[in-house]
Amino acid sequence: MACAILAVQSIQPGLLRYLAGNQAETRTLSTPNPHRLPSTIAREDEHLLVAAAKSGDAAAFEELVNRYERKIFRLTMNITRNREDAEDSMQDAFMKAYSHLGGFQEDSRFYTWLVRIAANEALMRLRKRRPNQFSLDEPIESDDDVIPQEIEDWGPSPEQRYAQSEMREILSGAVDQLQPDFRVVFVLRDVEGLSTEETAAALEISTAAVKSRLLRARLKLRQKLQRYFRQGGAH
């Protein structure tokens, strides 16, 4: 069968080595890495802080807020793409977490639990603002729009062609262009590092729906980054 990826332009050995370490060019990709788990950001004393906060220690709760406020704002901002909504979602999420702390079962991470609350607060505001444009229940359209038609070489370390602030603008702009139902799944899975199961539970959708939306989001983002990272790209 003919290759579905139609045009491969100037393959550089450097790119083939990229991300796979300095392996030989002809080697296929390295064994895939399972997705990182959010436990990598846990601190050992978190359960003590949670226990203290549960018993009414406001200072302990404030310390938990200090730890996660930046990540929660990033999450709500990435979902709503509106600063006012992001801030309101963050405030309500922390307040809701405080109010419901007694019911928090410590068989899951506090951060994962908090993310679930914050994602739902942000989604609620997104639905209010775009009532006819967003539903996690709607079926996804055909795959045709995400099938790559052309593969162009990005060269080695393409991100190094941009300053940090430029990269941030590029990545933020790319996420912004994703349709909301893909964006939410992508943000939880690939930016915040939740597992497929945690993402499915947070959004109350099936793991199959998470995987399907994640695939489409990743393909769309790769497509959007192509404009910047191809050799002689937009820079």
Binding site: N33, H35, R74, M77, K211
Partner: protein
């Protein structure tokens, strides 16, 4: 596996969710298809570059408002 199969399985491959037999088929295809090899590399790169990316800073004034609001609302909830 053909190119279409690689495209549809790339996400599961990156996440290490493919079964052994399917992963082997996937990798056999990559050995003979440079286009798919680059495509998979670029998709892996895309996933890697977004992980934990600081796409939005919490503004100092928003942080102050958060803490003020929480103190007030927690204080009220205790009355």
């Amino acid at each position: 596996m053909n190119c279409d199969g690689v495209i549809r399985s790339v996400s599961s491959y990156i996440d290490g969710e493919l079964g052994v037999a399917v992963r082997e088929e996937f990798e056999v295809h990559l050995k003979g298809c440079k286009g798919c090899t680059i495509f998979v590399q670029q998709t892996q790169f895309t996933v890697k570059i977004f992980y934990n990316a600081d796409l939005a800073d919490l503004p100092a004034e928003a942080r102050s408002r958060l803490h003020e609001t929480l103190r007030r609302r927690i204080g009220e909830s205790r009355k």
